[in-house]
Symmetry: C2
């Protein structure tokens, strides 16, 4: 905002600070006092950008950090016993990746960039230590993990009970919400993942994803141009997902 020239000169991508990060209102610094943000800032390492297809970490590697996405998108996935990829999540800016490694001290999934992506590395031992000193940081961490648990459970419901239309509609509305939260358009956005990756994530064949998207377009629920998506009829999409009538609960994946 009101940086001196000296500060701004130092704030290259790699040295930028949480205070100046447009994501701080969504990321871990939420609800932290200025001095606390500073302390958090000091344990964070800004990494150089990952190019599309590069790994952030690999399944089985020793866990030592969680990562906040700054720009771009990541996917996490397992390799099944049959050798095929199973995507377990997509991560957008401000979201935390790697939390599932805390328990076993090993990343149980791999994380790979879907496009050019920058992340902040947060060494977990430092974060844990700092969280003892800053209760609101600890609380924030518990909240982030709790949120991940309830989101994943919603995803389980989706995978277990919903049909192809509902799955794809949920997926698109979920992305829409995530874009909106970060101040981008909720109705127009670009998919950074391929149809194949969407299908893999949703438990559908590529062809099904393709057919459903085409049909949504034909029925004027959405407008599609390659990876560009515009949600035209939010109301109908939400009905498809089965949003509860009364309360304004938004479909979460």
């Amino acid at each position: 905002m009101s940086m001196t020239h000296t500060q701004s000169r130092f704030n290259s991508t790699l040295t930028s600070q949480c205070q100046n990060c447009s994501l701080s209102a969504l990321c871990l610094p939420i609800a932290l006092a200025d001095e606390d943000i500073n302390r958090l800032d000091q344990i964070i390492e800004r990494k150089k950008p990952l190019k599309k297809g590069e790994f952030l970490f690999r399944q089985g590697e020793a866990f030592d950090s969680v990562y906040a996405v700054r720009s771009g998108t990541l996917k996490t996935f397992n390799i099944t016993s049959v050798g095929e990829e199973q995507i377990t999540g997509f991560y957008c800016p401000s979201e935390l990746v790697g939390l599932s490694g805390i328990d076993s001290n090993v990343y149980p999934v791999s994380a790979k960039a879907l496009e050019t992506t920058t992340v902040c590395e947060i060494p977990f031992s430092h974060l844990e230590e700092l969280s003892s000193q800053i209760p609101s940081l600890k609380h924030q961490l518990f909240k982030v993990m709790s949120r991940k648990i309830s989101d994943d459970q919603q995803m389980m419901v989706l995978l277990g009970k919903k049909n192809a239309d509902e799955k794809v509609a949920s997926f698109l509305l979920n992305l829409s919400n995530r874009f909106k939260k970060r101040g981008y358009s909720a109705s127009s956005f670009r998919l950074s993942m391929s149809r194949g990756e969407i299908g893999n994530y949703l438990g559908l064949a590529v062809e099904t994803v393709s057919r459903v998207i085409t049909r949504f377009q034909k029925n004027e629920l959405i407008h599609v141009d390659g990876k560009e998506i515009e949600i035209v009829d939010f109301h109908e999409m939400q009905k498809l997902v089965g949003v509860a009538s009364d309360c304004g609960k938004i479909a979460r994946i």
Copy 2:
């Protein structure tokens, strides 16, 4: 173990302590020093048993506690917009229920007893406070939540990618492991949930669950008598689930 008469007189179900709890080695007290267990013990309330079908908490209620199961089994579930139940998890002794409420301060699921069940109530604000003072408790909490995240992600893989045989086999082996960890037989146990609940959880129709179980029995993988299950051929069951790294997909027996 070596309690005085006075102590034992006070240690009814409702007043028993973490120190004397056979589950302490699996539950939160793991890796806590004796004096720390005492402090944890003081914030925990033992509740009177829930009868089968009673709620521990309901979706939408204010979140204030997590619960450790002491005996019996719970299920957690959502009610979908269509009004049907969607089970998101089963909870056995030593497991923690309610963690998904931390984020929103509201339980996003309901929890109901599948049989007579006793729990320890752990008011979360106290737990959080105590965790600031006892680093190993905080670490344990992070681990439990992280574990839940990776377990749920495994469940997502199961729901999205596996067929009926693989789902049922995974489910049975998963239960088996949980019994084993608590010192019970890994091969013989009693299902506290109905076929319908298993199907609901696994994204299968009741009829399919029933048929798969019958077929497993016919092929001498398991022996079934109502809710009593005996796993006869662990090796074949594990092959079915896909633990084997090398060999390809197992043909249906």
